[in-house]
Subunit: 232 residues, 2 copies
Amino acid sequence: MRKAYHDELDRIAESLVDMTHLAASAMSRATTALLDADVHLADSVITADADIDAQREHIDLLSFDLIALQQPVATDLRVVVTSMRMSSDIERMGDLARHVAKVARLRYPNSAVPPELRGTFREMGAVAELIVEKTGSVIAARDVETARAIAREDDAMDRLHRELFEQVTSKDWPHDTETAVDVTLLGRYYERFADHAVSVAERVIWIVTGEWGDEADGSHEDAEDADASPAT
Amino acid sequence: MRKAYHDELDRIAESLVDMTHLAASAMSRATTALLDADVHLADSVITADADIDAQREHIDLLSFDLIALQQPVATDLRVVVTSMRMSSDIERMGDLARHVAKVARLRYPNSAVPPELRGTFREMGAVAELIVEKTGSVIAARDVETARAIAREDDAMDRLHRELFEQVTSKDWPHDTETAVDVTLLGRYYERFADHAVSVAERVIWIVTGEWGDEADGSHEDAEDADASPAT
């Protein structure tokens, strides 16, 4: 019984790690599609989001069966329920990558990103990819130290997001409001992507240590947005 | 055992309904704070979000205990796990109301909303309030018919959101980009608020009928955003 339980739990964790790879790939390709105005790549991200959704359904089914058949209590139950929440977070990360891809597709053959902001978006894409890959390692190894470090990556994202916000709202913004709107939403998609990664990491910390981060309830941005660009 | 189980389940449903009232009040007050540039009201929304978060924790604890002590399977288990997801949705609705309040506070003593868009935001606020109150009734009565009708309220929100988007991105937009950024984010907060209400309604449909709406996985906007303003 215990063996079966732990095998099932391992399968769930592996599926979660797979999901993080899919989300990382999606955001990486979405960023490239955005910067290179590559509509085919954008379409591939949009289409592939169904795979992430399917992976989440798969994890839900595994988790349900595990609860129903093994009837875990206490810590074991906490792990299973938390896994279902992690799959929600990662699925949402996939949605956000898809949103980025949709903006890329919408502005094709132009790029939605003005030249002077390309560097910032490139960095946001790199941070997003790094943070979700680290999240995968954190899940695989139940690595609390790396989980805590993910908050620092998120600080980097918040800084980039703030920079973006300052440029868009500066009096010298040389572009039209359509571009400002695109940049505003894109910035929010990347920021939320990182927030969900932090939520996943904090859920792992909770599983391992029983400590709730302030944000292990999944509303990570709440603590952060006091310091971030206030309207975002 | 069954009696205790159903009593517990009723308590969870009541707590969820309470949460919808809190979220409705938060969004209603946030909208007023936004339109009237009422900083005290905005602060009250920001402070009161902790109550919604606490309510969600309470529901999580009830649900955990219920699973651990009663070991429900099949439909019963589905109901409990789905309740935890509904509490996540409603908590997030509270966060979005708080975001609206923060924009109101940030622009005080001015209003973040230009005069010609006040009507649109007033309508978005009214739709948001209506949709979350209906969501409460849907939970309380497990009312599938009303749950299905909530998708129509959401269509109204999407229409308003699209209108907003068209105005902000029109060539004649007479305001600065800071205002465009505020309006863009505010529009998204209201739209996401309605999306989460639809998710809750679809989860109730699932509990009652076993039918998954396309969006019962919580990613409601995915189906919608194909028709909505593409970048939002």
